[in-house]
Symmetry: C2
Subunit: 203 residues, 2 copies
Amino acid sequence: MPPTGTYHHGDLRAACLRAARELLEEDGSAGLSLRAVARRAGVSATAPYRHYADRDALVSAVAAEGYRELAGHLAGAHPAPATPDELAAVAVAYVRFALDHPALFRAMFAEPCDPTSEERVAATAAISEYVRGIVRAAFPGSDAEALSTTIWALVHGLAFLHLDGKLDSSTPEAVAAQVTTAVHALFQASPAFRTAAATRTAD
Amino acid sequence: MPPTGTYHHGDLRAACLRAARELLEEDGSAGLSLRAVARRAGVSATAPYRHYADRDALVSAVAAEGYRELAGHLAGAHPAPATPDELAAVAVAYVRFALDHPALFRAMFAEPCDPTSEERVAATAAISEYVRGIVRAAFPGSDAEALSTTIWALVHGLAFLHLDGKLDSSTPEAVAAQVTTAVHALFQASPAFRTAAATRTAD
DNA sequence: CTCTCATGTGCACGCCGCATACATCCTAAG
DNA sequence: CTTAGGATGTATGCGGCGTGCACATGAGAG
């Protein structure tokens, strides 16, 4: 292992990340403490501080990893969605990811956390750009910025409401059906964004 | 003061709630500790336990209050929205509430919190029913359930993305314009929900 | 071989949630 | 009026947490 440090522990940085992920999945965000991470990594309580400035930095690192996984998951649902159906599949994958990794998803989005975490902003910018790119490709004439923001918000909101148990998440099929319906509806409205863009240009 | 206890402190229950709200606004959810609440209320550290089973119970109470305030805020934007414009105004009020009370909004929605808090579920059910009622009145022929869920998710998602700084929240006008555009687009798609309802009924 | 610096340890401090035992004081029954 | 009882708040203590600081350790440079 040439790149990252291989001193006493081997690769404590990665070990902490892995331990944090595990704790998050097992005990929720409440169980994610620096000390618990250290214990799980078989290391003293303060050792992680050599790799993460504070608890927030660790959480941010986990969140950033989550963003990358989410991106992969979306790409796995469909590499280059173009039709509304394909886009809906990606949307379903988004919500599914949130439901499959609730604590991680919350760490990614629901934490106060100052926006001063390069890793985080870069990762979220990547997702944002990803969505925009899809929309641009699928709806060339539309105001991609506005439409992609809207669809992201819609899907994101669905994910959160499901997470909070405010929607029927009893079966994966129910979730998928609802998300699909909503996304299709929004795409049926895509001319509105085209109009908006045209209007703006005409001003 | 006949209803709630007026013993030693006067009304510690309400005082705790108020203190918690203040701490939330000042220091964010991180600063909301039972001990801090007790200090602010001028009472011993464990006194709040006489009125709240644990920290979660207090937070839930604050959240429930937040739900009521949100409902009032929405009603203040428009008492009985019927046109898309009026509905968009309510949506803007929703997002504005989130941006004006970020920590409270997060406490309301972004906390893990078991769903075993009557006060909370009642309050969120009220909001959900409120939105559904509006949609039913404004779009009589549509599948109110599906359409209201979708619009709630859209607005909720916009609120969260703005909260997380993922959207341009620099000016209130920018936020309002974006929310308005998105909501209008969705309403233009409302026939899709009508179709969905009709299809389902026809089955 | 030694110097040096990254890496990990030990310890201490103050904060936290919460359990338990105790003090206080309203309220109501006799 | 007295007194028993229960509601309310206090005192104390336990274990856990984040984190700053001094110290030990060991890998690689000279």
